[in-house]
């Protein structure tokens, strides 16, 4: 089995994987960071989104072995010095979640959105950009409000 190493949330990690081990399996099962979720088996829901070398990707649709040497940020890596990331804070303040299953992917996708498009996001842009993140609880309204507020505070 190939051995790989990565930097996850700033910490060096390594482990042995099979070719077929998905990035999300490596993150959840080998490293034990279970904040990244798996909500589907068709690459559509976005619950598994993490930042790889600064870009949002679906970790259920990526091979761990192909990411040897990568820098990964998961939802656990966002809070700093005991304070939530502004995007997490905004989801909390705006009731941008109910069951919370989609939330790690939503928050990471939203941070990626701000990184690419800036802090001043229209509702239309936010809705279009969240196309790859499905929520079965909220009806999206409060998620959109949370992203708008979180973006402005980033």
């Amino acid at each position: 089995m190939p051995a790989i190493s990565m930097k996850v949330n700033g910490q060096a990690v390594c482990g042995e994987v099979e070719g077929r081990t998905l990035l999300v399996e490596f993150i959840r099962e080998k490293i034990g960071l279970t904040g990244t979720h798996v909500g589907c088996d068709t690459s559509q829901c976005g619950a598994c989104v993490v930042l790889v070398n600064g870009k949002a990707v679906k970790s259920c649709t990526a091979l761990a072995v192909a990411h040897d040497g990568a820098e990964v940020i998961t939802v656990e890596g966002l809070a700093a010095d005991g304070k939530l990331h502004p995007m997490q804070e905004a989801f909390k303040d705006n009731h941008g979640l109910q069951c919370g299953f989609c939330t790690p992917g939503m928050v990471i996708a939203s941070i990626d959105m701000v990184n690419r498009l800036g802090k001043n996001l229209s509702e239309e842009t936010i809705r279009h950009e969240l196309e790859g993140n499905i929520c079965r609880c909220t009806g999206y309204h409060n998620i959109v409000a949370a992203v708008k507020a979180g973006a402005a505070n980033m």
Partner: protein, 262 residues
């Protein structure tokens, strides 16, 4: 998902050698089609040959626009040369799937796969692109041979796509609201030596709509398409839409594409 041996060659030659040595191998670029297919058991290659280490991405603009095969949809969507030379192509790439898929998926993987509802094949055919491989150059008219099939030989690698520069081109897609793949997408181009119109999403694979091209030859405007009917020869029906509905959509999307053409 079945296990496989993983290879990460550093050159196209080594990739081709690995494919020759393992007849049941598959190349992987972004993995955004291949990995879902493997997870569903629709593909079970003995070996994966990851093309990610080839570093074969980037765009160059000269008398034509050349996009290397490993360029992601996100890179094409935001590239200044693509936006300047063929804005319709940048717009097409910006609306493939979602942002996360666009960070990984590549133009080479998309055309090699030739999904009957994929976007890029219509741009290649609509613009009269040339597909470069490790072995030869193939005209788009000869490359897309039907449902999920192409002119690629066993082990042949797509290395780049070369687009001639049109006077004007436009793309309009009617996305399936759930999957975002095209129910019908039409790419139109005023090439300077005639109009071309390529249709995706119709079911049997990308094709050129002669009725649309004939009408646009008389004038590259949406008005030329008034009353034009496309037959159902190349069009299939399914639970999302009947063949007649899709055929009707072709003219509607062609008009929008012409209106949007720049």
């Amino acid at each position: 998902m079945e296990n496989f041996n993983y290879h990460r060659p550093a050159s196209v030659d080594d990739a081709v050698k690995a494919a020759k040595a393992h007849p049941e191998a598959k190349y992987m670029s972004g993995g955004q089609t291949l990995i879902p297919a493997m997870k569903q058991g629709l593909a079970a290659p003995s070996d994966i040959i990851d093309l990610g280490a080839l570093k074969n991405s980037g765009v160059s603009l000269g008398s034509s626009l050349v996009i290397k095969a490993g360029t992601t949809h996100a890179e094409v969507a935001s590239n200044a040369d693509v936006k300047k030379a063929i804005p319709a192509l940048a717009g097409l790439a910006a609306n493939i799937g979602d942002p996360h898929v666009r960070h990984k998926g590549t133009i080479g993987g998309s055309i090699a796969n030739n999904d009957p509802a994929a976007d890029y094949p219509s741009a290649c055919l609509g613009l009269g692109a040339t597909i470069h491989t490790n072995a030869r150059k193939i005209a788009a008219d000869d490359f897309f041979t039907g449902l999920f099939s192409t002119a690629l030989e066993e082990g042949e690698v797509v290395t780049a796509v070369e687009f001639p520069l049109p006077k004007k081109a436009g793309y309009a897609k009617f996305p399936n609201p759930a999957s975002r793949y095209a129910m019908i997408g039409v790419f139109v181009a005023d090439t300077g030596s005639g109009a071309r119109a390529a249709v995706t999403g119709a079911g049997h694979g990308v094709f050129r709509a002669k009725e649309i091209e004939g009408a646009l030859a008389k004038g590259f405007s949406a008005a030329s398409l008034n009353g034009v009917k496309v037959g159902t020869d190349n069009v299939a029906g399914d639970l999302h839409a009947s063949a007649e509905y899709r055929a009707h959509l072709i003219t509607v999307m062609a008009k929008r594409a012409v209106d949007a053409a720049k």
